[in-house]
Amino acid sequence: MGAREERAGTDPEGMLLALYDQALPQVYGYLLPRCGNASLAEDLTAETFMAAVTAAKDQNVPDLTVAWLVGVARHKLVDHWRRREREERSLGAVRGGRNEVDDPWDDHVNAEQAYAALTRLSPPQRAALALRYLDGLPVAQVAEVIGRSVRATETLLVRARAAFRRAYEESEGNGA
């Protein structure tokens, strides 16, 4: 009995189970507002924990904490946006790529309208902006998560900001 309890405290598999109740609302709470719908947030939450199980079984977890699990969730979210991107490409959808100006604006940004505008961007642009601004990651870390070079990420962010601004202003123009 004592032996099993000791083991549960040190092996990643036992720790993952012990962490489950605490980590679940954090992971789901991270994903829900970023996905904007509960069923997708549930799918990605499940993917996150099942990936954590695999990593724990392979003894491949650097530091089993809630923060690490949220990091896994972030990757799952980016993977999801990547899948969306491929789907949209195969459907021949073309978005963005128009005049890429990045004028600094000094107006106050309405958060709700901004989150709505984000959902209308192409998946890579949305992912870059979400990681940079919603999660507050530095550019180098955004680059790491989305698997692009820092330079490419900077370019993506510039374009994404321009596209975001158009989407945001369109919604304003619509009297939103």
Binding site: D21, L24, P25, R34, E42, G136
Partner: protein, 188 residues
Amino acid sequence: MAPDPLDTLRLPIVPVSPRPAFAAELRRRVEDELGRSQVSEESEDVMAVDLNLTPSVTPVLHYDDTGAALRWLVEALGMTESWVSRAPDGTVQHAELRWRSGFVSINYARGEYAASRGASVSLTLETEAEVDTLHERAVAAGARIVRPIGESGYYFYSFSIEDPEGNRWEIGTDGRLQELREQQAGER
């Protein structure tokens, strides 16, 4: 450098509990994948051996979140999970926790138990005839019948009454024990 207006979009993590059924199902998947579910199968075998030690009076506690209650009792009090019955969605419907020579049962406060709160007592009888006899006796004594005699949950044949001050008693045969007895009798 001018402050970036987009910096106001920071979205700190606010913990949100997902649907309980989802949380329970995912926990079950995680446990299955980690091979932890074998632990409860082992303890069910232990139970079968200790058939004669199974108490015939058990306190029953009702909870909205039986899964969380189960884990709490294990973590906070060191009780041992001895038997868990789950709905197809993974929700814990009923569970037994062992404490030395005794047990406490926990029940999902839903369906026929929706109004149940706090504790009730479960009396286990061996045969349906015994259940009928005790039912007649309780009715004659003026017990308020909460659930008429019949099949219910893990009791094969049972009824439920309230005593004069509103404490609830569940009285019946234990279907699982009956199965185990028949199984053991068959093996002999």
